[in-house]
């Protein structure tokens, strides 16, 4: 089993910038700099009972399909490594092809049309299945279109912990024109925040700043 990439939240730039050059190791360690004992945040482990894995299998009891579905579900988003494909909701189906000798098919759906991470996700799924000695082909399906509602509740918690504000509820298209509600700061929980840009480092994120704790943060946009 290949080890999943692990990550941890880096100390904020404002903290680092405020430190005098001769700060001693203990002080640095206390705020998580250069301290190997600070736990790395890992994506929550996906098991065969994860709702997305069950849905992808569509009731199949085929043990190889189940192993592949769990492995594919545990692949993480290369841009946001605390989100598994199962929690992100992009794992759609795992099935055997019509041709008897064909590869098992893992169907994914892209989050955004041009998201460059989809290619990496596909390659990682193929690799994760190969670790189990299963040959798979990845296909991308667009229908129905992915929405942030496809993300699990676990995904929201993992994002917040990672320092990214999770997406809010999707506005009711039949309802009144939605007001732009402020987004809660993932660092200090304040609602006193303002959006600094509609676009962030990836298609799925916008940039915000917290007026309470002064930290910048990203928001996973509602889609």
């Amino acid at each position: 089993m290949s080890r999943r990439p692990t990550t941890r939240r880096l100390p904020s730039a404002s903290v680092v910038g405020a430190l005098p050059a001769d700060t001693d190791r203990d002080t640095l360690a206390a705020i998580g700099i250069g301290n190997p004992l600070v736990p790395m945040q890992e994506a929550p482990r996906v098991t065969a009972t994860h709702p997305r894995v069950l849905a992808a299998l569509g009731g199949s009891a085929d043990p190889e399909l189940r192993r592949v579905a769990v492995a594919a579900g545990n692949v993480v988003d290369p841009e946001i490594p605390v989100l598994t494909l199962a929690d992100l909701g992009v794992l759609r189906r795992v099935y055997r092809p019509v041709e008897p000798d064909g590869k098992i098919v893992v169907a994914l759906t892209p989050t955004y049309s041009g998201c460059p991470a989809t290619a990496t996700m596909a390659a990682d799924v193929v690799r994760a299945a190969a670790d189990l000695r299963s040959a798979v082909a990845v296909e991308f399906v667009l229908v129905p279109a992915w929405t942030t509602d496809d993300m699990s509740e676990q995904a929201g918690a993992a994002l917040r912990e990672f320092g990214i504000a999770p997406p809010g509820a999707r506005p009711d298209p039949a309802g009144p024109i939605p007001l732009s509600l402020s987004v809660r700061c993932p660092h200090c929980d304040s609602r006193d925040t303002r959006r600094t840009s509609r676009f962030g480092s990836t298609s799925c994120k916008a940039m915000w700043a917290c007026q309470q704790c002064s930290e910048p943060f990203e928001e996973f946009k509602v889609l």
Binding site: A119, A122, L142, T196
Partner: protein, 274 residues
């Protein structure tokens, strides 16, 4: 290269072959369908390329990122559309993007205009976005399920792009004398190209139920545009339209030089991957 986008409802070639009498009609339909997909895919691709030119040239870093991201969304839409067209034509998306000449493209003139001022980018994003918003909304109910799926994906992205353009249009249009003047100049430059987007064309009649008659998109798109222009204190120009002809292989004079930049690497090193 990334895996091809496929839909659960990909056309089944075996079914076509089984009924020879309907095959010719199917072939004609496929050619029309491919042509329509080139309309949409080429608009998205060329617009994405122009937006990409803004990276490192926008007025602020956030805007470099924003225009780059919008271009990336459009590039994703273009890939889905051109992959589909390519399957019908027996060519792949890269061949369609890199190995066609300007007269083989089917994009409108508006998307291929040179980068210009930042105000030009804002105006163009607003005009093209308002058109695309109506187009993709209508296509979500296309009888072609694969196209409907691409549209359902694209519409959510395009709405966000239009909001972004509208925000800038109001901020600059209702801003300083200088920003107002530059926005109005940009609007005056772009306006003659707007009508081409809504020109009726026999192709969409052939694809009844699948494609959308562009003329039907004009009124709702103009409503959206003029509402923004009002708020931005900008005036709808009273200018004559230009001839257009992009859908029929008469591209703007600006498309060729843009393609030269976009295609040079793929043509100098055929088969290269990166």
């Amino acid at each position: 290269m990334t895996p091809q986008l496929v839909s659960a409802t990909a056309p089944n070639g075996a079914d076509h072959a089984a009924v020879p009498s309907s095959r010719q009609a199917d072939m004609a339909d496929m050619a029309d369908m491919a042509e329509y997909l080139l309309w949409l895919g080429d608009d998205a691709l060329v617009s994405a390329q122009r937006l990409g030119e803004w990276i490192t040239n926008a007025p602020e870093l956030e805007e470099d990122v924003a225009l780059g991201n919008i271009g990336l969304d459009q590039l994703g839409q273009a890939r889905a559309l051109l992959s589909y067209a390519g399957e019908l034509l027996g060519r792949n998306e890269d061949e369609l993007a890199y190995f066609r000449d300007d007269v083989d493209f089917r994009c409108t003139h508006l998307v291929s205009l040179p980068r210009g001022d930042f105000a030009d980018a804002v105006v163009r994003l607003l005009l093209v976005g308002a058109y695309s918003e109506q187009l993709y909304a209508a296509l979500t109910t296309s009888a072609d399920e694969r196209l409907a799926g691409i549209a359902a994906k694209a519409i959510k992205e395009v709405r966000y792009h239009v909001e972004h353009a509208a925000g800038w249009a109001v901020r600059l249009g209702d801003g300083t004398d200088e920003s107002h003047r530059r926005m109005q100049d940009a609007l005056n430059r772009a306006w003659p190209y707007l009508d081409e987007l809504f020109d009726p064309h026999p192709l969409t009649d052939h694809l009844d139920g699948i494609a959308v008659d562009p003329a039907t998109l004009k009124e709702p798109a103009l409503q959206r545009i003029t509402a923004v222009l009002d708020e931005a204190t900008l005036t709808v120009p009273a200018t004559q339209r230009v001839a257009g002809g992009g859908r029929d292989g008469r591209p703007s004079e600006h498309l060729g030089p843009m393609l030269a930049v976009m295609q040079v690497l793929a043509r100098a090193h055929p088969g290269a991957s990166w």
